[in-house]
Symmetry: C2
Subunit: 251 residues, 2 copies
């Protein structure tokens, strides 16, 4: 899960649990694949396998949306695709702006998964004048001076931040002030936003660090009984807080 979570707990909408909402796109993807193969119906067991989850969980998830299955048969694929799409709000068009057209911003602009799910890249914005006017993914990059105008003219409510961390908060503030109420943040920074604004965070470095933790654990368990991987002092807080401890972390 490259998925950091930054959510106020008031996410409970009409009663669909947040965990369920997070899985709906997964089901939708699996269902779309089935739909393309013209499979008419699917059982919870099959669909769960395709989505990589437990079948009981899947059934409970769907039960929050209503009773869309037929006992003894399964779920109608097309119907379910429609229901989930509607529930997720994908039956409408979502204009999105991407701020910060570096490597990552450009990658996102080219990413097919956006357009294919009701999301439309309305504008690319960058602070570098040298970028202004350049075409990325067939869209002309605009200067960040015009950010507010771009957002309001296009009715943008979702913004993607792919800037360096130093300016992310400032960009975020301007987006929010201009009317954006949902932000997908790729900058490694904690964004503070007013109530009513949703922030989701994607942090590549964090994901790798979590993997490293488990990787280290695996390596350490191979030779059981040995002292843990690196140093040795495992015991209580003997060692004073100041002094000899090397600062291993690079900038």
């Amino acid at each position: 899960m490259a998925t950091g979570r930054t959510h106020r707990p008031a996410t409970r909408s009409r009663g669909i649990p947040e965990a369920t909402v997070a899985r709906l796109p997964l089901y939708l993807r699996a269902l779309t694949a089935l739909s393309e193969r013209s499979v008419p119906t699917v059982s919870s067991e099959e669909l769960a396998a395709a989505a990589g989850v437990n079948s009981a969980k899947l059934r409970k998830d769907f039960s929050y949306l209503g009773s869309y299955g037929t006992r003894g048969v399964g779920y109608d694929v097309e119907y379910l695709v429609y229901q989930i799409s509607r529930e997720l709000g994908l039956t409408q068009d979502w204009p999105v702006v991407i701020v910060g057209i570096g490597n990552l911003g450009a990658a996102l602009a080219n990413y097919g998964g956006f357009a294919s799910r009701g999301f439309r890249v309305a504008a690319l914005i960058d602070a570098d004048p040298a970028m202004t006017g350049r075409q990325v993914a067939g869209i002309a990059v605009q200067h960040s001076d015009d950010l507010e105008k771009i957002v309001s003219d296009n009715g943008v409510s979702i913004g993607v931040i792919t800037t360096p961390p130093g300016v992310a908060q400032q960009v975020c503030d301007r987006l929010v002030a201009a009317g954006v109420t949902s932000i997908l943040n790729f900058a490694p920074t904690v964004l503070s936003v007013p109530d009513g604004v949703d922030v989701r965070k994607v942090d590549l470095s964090i994901e790798l660090q979590i993997l490293a933790f488990h990787e280290q654990r695996k390596a350490g368990e191979e030779h059981e009984g040995t002292v843990p991987p690196v140093a040795a002092h495992q015991d209580s807080s003997e060692q004073g807080p100041d002094g000899d401890v090397p600062a291993v972390m690079p900038a």
Copy 2:
């Protein structure tokens, strides 16, 4: 959080909860910033604010690592940086391969957050012969025919998949067979791996869909008392599973 989760529950290592592990990198980042400003100590309250979490949660998280704080004073920044780095396994070098050097792969190769945290891009791999030999982020792209050799020669245990979804599973299988035991998957596919291999998933499209859900909910709640956003049929399972329902989802 752009963080999808795909984890076997056996993640429990020596007792550090998975949720805590996921937050350690956050603390580490905040602490590193403090360290650069030469701040000697920090209270749980301050650090929690910087990391964007509750202070009680932070203290409980740290309590799993041991008693590293001083009551009445707070935590020693340098010492804590070291302890967390060690716990996450960042005191050692992790060679990483990136497979699939498209827009996203190139963006990751250039991403600073990798090198700065003990991760080293050992190789870039792509299936396109036209890419072979091209320099990306100062590293020559190698052909995927040599994947197995590259992995074993460099002792790589962490692989990053940024290929198109169609080949992701196949690439994953080859990585695992070559000895990779941790995978960060950016392809929108459910990867199946043998036990003992960790997969974390970053799915940009899913994050946007979750945002769209909340966005739609906000829009719908503005005019309270109205019927929910799109259509109207909210009631029980009247409508038969087959028939009139339009398939709105594009491919």
